[in-house]
């Protein structure tokens, strides 16, 4: 499992806009590089990232090779109710990494 960093305030007021910052460890191999024998290294990037708030998708990103290694994505959402934020990253090999974090809304 790749290392993941997720950062947002654990407690928020109802209706408050919170910023969510995410980072996942991944080489984001572009497919344009050659190895030392001159053979193209196959593309392997995270092509999709989603964030769901209590099961409802609130943010989705499609990524291309121009996104840096260890992709960082920051976005925002409105704190509506206490519950769970689910994060999911999918790469070219079909590997899916999911993480969940709790949020308390007062």
């Amino acid at each position: 499992m790749a290392r993941v960093l997720i950062n947002f305030p654990q407690r928020a007021m109802r209706g408050e806009i919170i910023e969510i910052k995410t980072l996942i460890q991944h080489p984001m191999e572009t497919g344009y590089r050659l190895d030392n024998k001159g053979v193209a290294i196959p593309r392997d990037i995270i092509n999709r990232f989603t964030c769901a708030y209590n099961g409802d998708e609130v943010f989705r990103a499609e990524l291309f090779p121009a996104i840096s290694a260890n992709p960082f994505v920051a976005f925002s959402t409105v704190a509506t109710e206490s519950g769970e934020l689910g994060f999911s990253w999918t790469d070219d090999r079909g590997q899916i990494q999911t993480e969940t974090r709790q949020i308390i809304v007062e």
């Binding site: 590089r33 943010f59 990103a61 291309f64 992709p71 960082f72 994505v73 920051a74």
Partner: protein, 162 residues
């Protein structure tokens, strides 16, 4: 052999090619190749944007693309896009798309958001293979498209060759 005894002042093309002629020909081919490559990707960016927006007009404004004007390392260039929108159910930004001019591929990323985002702002880090223009396009819920662009000078490009 007549060709081997040519004077250095003789620049007439007939006869076997001289070393000077070969060098200039090779240089010309190299430059032409580079020029068409750069042109092709600029057209590719326009094409990718056109594919997204279709026949709709693309207007500058409402979108703010934040990029440093000069970056030292093209492998990780911080980028943020904020869009002026109330982000209500009736009026919001549906998606934000990023394009570049000179990377091998014109598309950088697409971000899908909605009224639950609260504000239309996203940030990420991108790779830039050369000094170039980056374009951000926002699709609004009313079907309109707005854009902003920024020129970046890259001193150390993201390595695509090795």
């Amino acid at each position: 052999m007549t060709g081997g005894a040519r004077s250095v002042h003789d620049r007439s093309p007939p006869g076997p090619p001289t070393r000077r002629w070969i060098i200039s020909a090779v240089a010309g081919v190299g430059l032409a190749g580079f020029a068409t490559k750069a042109g092709a990707t600029e057209a590719a960016m326009d094409e990718a944007i056109r594919e997204l927006i279709g026949e709709a007009p693309l207007e500058p404004g409402k979108v703010k693309l934040e990029l440093p004007p000069i970056v030292e390392n093209g492998n990780a260039v911080p980028l943020a896009v904020s869009v002026d929108s109330p982000m209500t159910e009736a009026h919001h930004v549906e998606s934000i798309h990023l394009f570049n001019q000179k990377n091998p591929q014109p598309y950088i990323a697409a971000f899908h958001l909605g009224p639950r985002a609260g504000k239309a702002r996203v940030a990420t880090r991108i790779r830039l293979a050369d000094s170039q223009r980056v374009v951000a396009v926002a699709r609004f819920s009313d079907g309109s498209f707005w854009s902003d662009s920024a020129d970046v000078i890259v001193t150390l490009a993201a390595c695509t060759e090795q």
